[in-house]
Symmetry: C2
Subunit: 246 residues, 2 copies
DNA sequence: TTTCCGCGTTGAGCCAAATCATCCCTCCGC
DNA sequence: GCGGAGGGATGATTTGGCTCAACGCGGAAA
């Protein structure tokens, strides 16, 4: 469920460092003036990540905020006995690290080779204070995340296994569409079956079985293990909302 | 988990309309100057609510935001076949209606006789724009809600029935403590067993059984059906986090 | 091309919580 | 105090998804 800032995309002068940034149209940067954007860019630090490489751990002091420009990340928290809940996946354009706490309450790891920009939280806070439009975008983004979190509570609290997987796939499809700006029928699964299971409150075996069920009902096709084609979007939506026939 | 604004409580001149407001110390109003606070007060409208009385319905145009000063509310969404997920309970001091959408994505109803202040969203947006400190408080509040939502995802996705009820009770206890400012051993349950079940992703029967289990383990005592005394807080915390013995 | 390793799939049996059924208790109104 | 209604508790049974186990397959390295 990507966040989409509002308002017109600021045009940049030739030679601006953010000129070719692939995610600018879909992040908080969208609304920034060339000058301010350059300030922000100078404040940031790019970090490349390999699959499974951690960005930060639960309990680390919350000294940085992040923006993903390439790849995919997962965010999760652990219970004492190893049970894990993935609370979200991050895709290019997503902004991360929003917290009032002194320590991160989650762990973040790369799913794929990724490029991540980080900002000192202290410097970023000053930047936000000096740029009310950024504060507004952050607030909107947080409100958006909150709405998404409520949807996920419905999924985790009340949906069946098949409904959870169908809902998740629709969300991934819609995210791809909002980024590309056109209707899509395919999407990637950059995470493992176990990651999906821990996001959906299921086991990896159940996820596998539900994939088989969606396939057998001709709602989707698995082009490869990590690429899905949606064959019957309306049917998938029906299943996601619990309108499905027995 | 109540939101607690930061910074010193603004002192008000005698005769200020918010002088005796019971929730000012625990809301976004805390940081407002007497003048600005009076503006906000003038913008607001008080509404009394009876138990089960709806405040708004899912799908209504999102034209108002709210602050609760007395009582308790529940927030829920429905699936097509009547399954219900309670996504939160509201207590005095809570602020509500934050959304970027044109329509509310949830329904709100009173649990108890309540007093609710509402503000036209349009007027409130203008007020926020004119008062950056309010925007900052709203952003912090949203970030706080987001952290709470992530905790609830862990609960719904990975905790057992007993752990869910124990976690919920600890949260209620902590909320009471943050409001009163001192250690508590008792708290109220203003909602029905069914409301609790729909919040915790369980059935009312299972909630009932888990209450009996917590009672039998001497972790809590039910003073009445809607008032709980915590007998063993550490034990309750252990159970909430899954550290419990078999 | 072959081999190997780990992820993914599929099957069998089990269990925690849901469902179904009944009873109880508390809180009203009279 | 009495009767009734509705929420809450408890017991019996069912079941969706988990656990445990075996196997398949695809991608990487040689």
């Amino acid at each position: 469920m990507p966040y989409s800032p509002t308002g017109a995309l600021t045009t940049l002068p030739a030679g601006h460092p953010c000129e070719d940034c692939p995610v600018r149209p879909i992040t908080i940067c969208r609304s920034l003036e060339a000058r301010t954007l350059a300030d922000m860019r100078r404040m940031g630090n790019m970090q490349r990540l390999q699959p499974d490489q951690p960005v930060l751990h639960e309990g680390d002091p919350a000294k940085r905020v992040f923006m993903l420009t390439l790849g995919a990340l997962k965010i999760y928290t652990l219970l004492g006995d190893g049970r894990r809940q993935v609370t979200g996946f991050m895709f290019p354009g997503d902004f991360l690290g929003i917290t009032r706490d002194e320590e991160y309450a989650f762990t973040i790891e790369a799913l794929r080779p990724s490029e991540l920009w980080w900002f000192s939280r202290e410097a970023f806070d000053r930047f936000v204070e000096a740029n009310p439009s950024v504060e507004r975008e952050l607030y909107k983004m947080a409100a958006h995340e909150l709405a998404a979190a409520q949807q996920q509570m419905v999924l985790l609290g009340r949906k069946t296994a098949a409904e959870r997987v169908a809902s998740f796939f629709l969300n991934l499809l819609q995210r791809g569409e909002r980024v590309s700006g056109r209707t899509e029928t395919r999407f990637n699964l950059p995470m493992s079956r176990l990651d999906m299971a821990d996001y959906l409150g299921l086991t990896k075996e159940t996820v596998s079985r539900m994939l088989a069920e969606l396939r057998d009902r001709r709602l989707i096709r698995l082009e490869t293990q990590s690429r899905v084609e949606v064959l019957d979007r309306a049917g998938l939506a029906d299943m996601a909302e619990g309108h499905r026939a027995a």
